[in-house]
């Protein structure tokens, strides 16, 4: 990861209190953060809350941001993911059940209708292990490179690939069976 950080200059300006830079950063990162959190949580309202909280962390830390470590985009993904896990933990405490480690191929998430497919994939993603979901969301939907995704997840690239493979297998089991029933 020796490439220059494309957000470096913008974050420096935000740290100096430049309002235009703040607007640009929001425009650049907000949709990404909402999409990330929505896919991790399966809840759009909570996703917007997470994005808002992530930006509070940005404003708080921008003036102390130093290039040379992780990319800013990687860092803010980690921040948002931590916020997502806080909420997933609260849900678990609330429901009293553990987060699923493996896919639970119990019900057909597709419902047999094309218009429900988006929601079907959303539900299928919620049914696989959170770390597998995280790996898929980062590499597939957020289009992070394997190195960036592994850095955001604080794991090795090999561990990332293992999570991805298991996650995709679980999704295939859930989704393909649903598709076969149509």
């Amino acid at each position: 990861m020796t490439d220059a950080d494309p957000d470096e200059d913008l974050v420096r300006r935000v740290g100096a209190g430049d309002e235009v830079a703040m607007q640009i950063l929001i425009k650049r990162k907000l949709p990404r953060l909402v999409a990330l959190a929505a896919r991790m949580l399966g809840d759009r309202t909570e996703a917007e809350d997470v994005a808002q909280e992530a930006f509070v962390r940005i404003w708080r830390n921008a003036s102390r941001w130093r290039p040379g470590g992780a990319r800013f985009d990687t860092w803010i993904h980690r921040v948002a993911l931590n916020l997502c896990y806080d909420r997933l933990r609260r849900r678990r405490e609330w429901s009293g059940s553990d987060l699923p480690e493996f896919a639970d191929p119990g019900e057909d998430p597709n419902g047999g209708r094309l218009e429900d497919m988006s929601r079907g994939v959303e539900r299928a993603l919620q049914r696989i292990a959170p770390r597998q979901r995280e790996a898929i969301v980062l590499t597939y939907y957020q289009e992070m490179s394997n190195i960036e995704a592994a850095a955001a997840m604080e794991i090795s690239v090999e561990a990332l690939e293992s999570l991805l493979a298991r996650g995709r297998r679980s999704l295939r089991t859930i989704l393909m069976r649903g598709a076969d029933h149509d």
Partner: protein, 143 residues
């Protein structure tokens, strides 16, 4: 299909497709060239076709754009924070000027006053609050 340096094995190709899906741009950058060469073979195409089935389903899952006023709310939050920070800096700056003035005054007093207070220690010893040493030395009293 492992001939030549940099060529990709069928196993590795299948593993990458199983992890990253059918779109080579999601694959590790260092392996994309070798993967593209393998993808041109019949075996490679078959592996990608299989991975593409799941990709097609994943692509159906879209997330709507954030609420229209969310960016405004976040920006308002940021500017309010900066205004508070600037105000605090101004307050601290004014307080700093006050402290600096006080220190300057004390320094000046130290330079100019010694001659007028020749028996400084004697002044402490003759106060109505008894011996100053026992006032400050509490270690023995506590035992």
């Amino acid at each position: 299909m492992t001939e030549g340096p940099g060529a990709m094995s069928a196993d590795r190709f299948a593993a990458l497709a199983g992890a990253y899906g059918a779109q080579l741009r999601h694959w590790p950058q260092s392996e994309q060239a070798a993967a593209a060469a393998f993808a041109a073979t019949a075996e490679g195409r078959a592996v990608l076709d299989e991975a593409e089935k799941l990709d097609a389903l994943l692509d159906l899952y879209t997330v709507r754009a954030p609420a229209p006023d969310l960016d405004t709310r976040i920006l308002r939050q940021a500017t309010a924070r900066w205004k508070r920070r600037r105000w605090l800096r101004l307050e601290l700056g004014l307080a700093g000027v006050g402290v600096a003035g006080m220190i300057a005054g004390m320094v000046m007093a130290t330079i100019l006053m010694p001659a007028s207070l020749p028996n400084h220690r004697g002044f402490e010893e003759n106060t109505a609050f008894s011996d100053t040493v026992s006032d400050f030395d509490t270690t023995e009293e506590g035992d």
